[in-house]
Assembly symmetry: C2
Homo-oligomer: 236 residues x 2
């Protein structure tokens, strides 16, 4: 593994705990004005709309639209089902930008800080660049640079994202380690020749999570969390 030069990270779920962050953020913000809102229900439904909304761009011939745009459309559709009135523009913006204010898992910042001393570290995320940049400032994520879907006008698991990052890094895929809590992401990266690391996040989707509890593919590394990955990669 001496030849690994750069580590790419999935972000939503792998580095940040979107579900707990959004429930706390929205419950506190919404309590005075929206006492009937079912925030956990809305957030789970919103996340469930994520892959279908990207797939309309990936396969449906829809022109490029970034994740903020997709999030806003899904939220507008879903809000009435979860005890919310028709939301005004500033409220929609506040909620959509909740995805810019997510908190890291406890191991993320210390693990990334160790890894940064030895490797290039960057997200490779379906988030847009401004979302990932705001999140990095909010959560103190010490990225060297940011690879966002809007650099490529493609969403993972399209090959253009993994290979686009490799091209910009000027590295062959086998010198890049893709880290994610999601098997589908790693399967796509592995098929393109990247190294892979699986980190389970068994409460990402809440207490009753059934998916992505264990790795389902060949992986170069399986680690309990990002600090454990740093230890396996001998990053002090």
């Amino acid at each position: 593994m001496k030849e690994i030069r750069a580590l790419l990270f999935d972000v939503f779920g792998t580095v940040v705990d979107w579900r707990t962050s959004l429930i706390q953020d929205f419950s506190q913000w919404g309590a005075p004005r929206f006492p009937n809102a079912d925030w956990p229900g809305l957030i789970d439904a919103w996340r469930a709309a994520y892959i279908p909304s990207m797939n309309r761009v990936r396969h449906g011939g829809r022109r490029w639209a970034n994740l903020d745009t997709l999030h806003r459309e899904s939220l507008t559709d879903l809000a009435p089902n979860f005890g919310l009135p028709t939301l005004a523009d500033p409220d929609l913006t506040h909620l959509v930008q909740g995805w810019h204010r997510l908190n890291p898992w406890p191991d993320s910042v210390p693990g990334l800080t160790r890894l940064k001393r030895r490797f290039i570290i960057a997200p490779l995320s379906n988030g847009n660049l401004s979302l990932l940049l705001n999140m990095a400032k909010h959560a103190a994520l010490p990225w060297d640079t940011i690879f966002a879907a809007d650099l490529f006008h493609h969403y993972k698991p399209d090959a253009e994202t993994y290979l686009g990052a490799a091209s910009l890094l000027n590295l062959p895929p086998h010198q890049i380690l893709m880290t994610a809590a999601h098997n589908a992401d790693l399967q796509a990266a592995h098929a393109l020749g990247l190294r892979t690391a699986f980190i389970p996040r068994p409460t990402e989707y809440g207490p009753n999570q059934t998916r992505d509890l264990t790795r389902e593919n060949t992986c170069d590394f399986v680690a309990q969390d990002i600090e454990h990955l740093a230890a396996q990669l001998s990053a002090k």
Copy 2:
């Protein structure tokens, strides 16, 4: 100026001292094998080839080629004029990658560190992303993300670079401050609605520099160096 959210920096000359860095690097590396080389002469001629080589991409209908590629071509042409033999591939690579190993001016890292606490900070450079990333690791430049010409397949002063960064940042141009030691860069940014800051680097081109000694356009800020700019922007 309260509305400024992001600071973009020209890099070669503004943040790093390419001339002194390359003279030191190449003189030391080349002494045993290339005692007749005129390194300052080669480096000055190489830098003089920089804008014409980009202009062939900008105006000459040449397909996109990144700065590493342009640097390599210029070096191959120029080396025989400065006491060097025909260079083997590893030697060409070492010299081209000298541009990845440039040292910062003394104020750059402390100034950027202060500015990062209050603003988004990123290069907007004609360098390729891998060059800027390697340079950031080498010189400890604390960028939040990297805007490189190969994200846009355009070189400054093409509008696509400034407006491409603004689009990815999801900010209107007037919330972005472009900082450079070069009047032409700031003139282009100003014409597109960005704020501008001029920082003179009177020895960038050596002791006999005649260009870019003072600002030639309207600028929102003129600062002695990046720490002085941080002071003007009240970044602690």
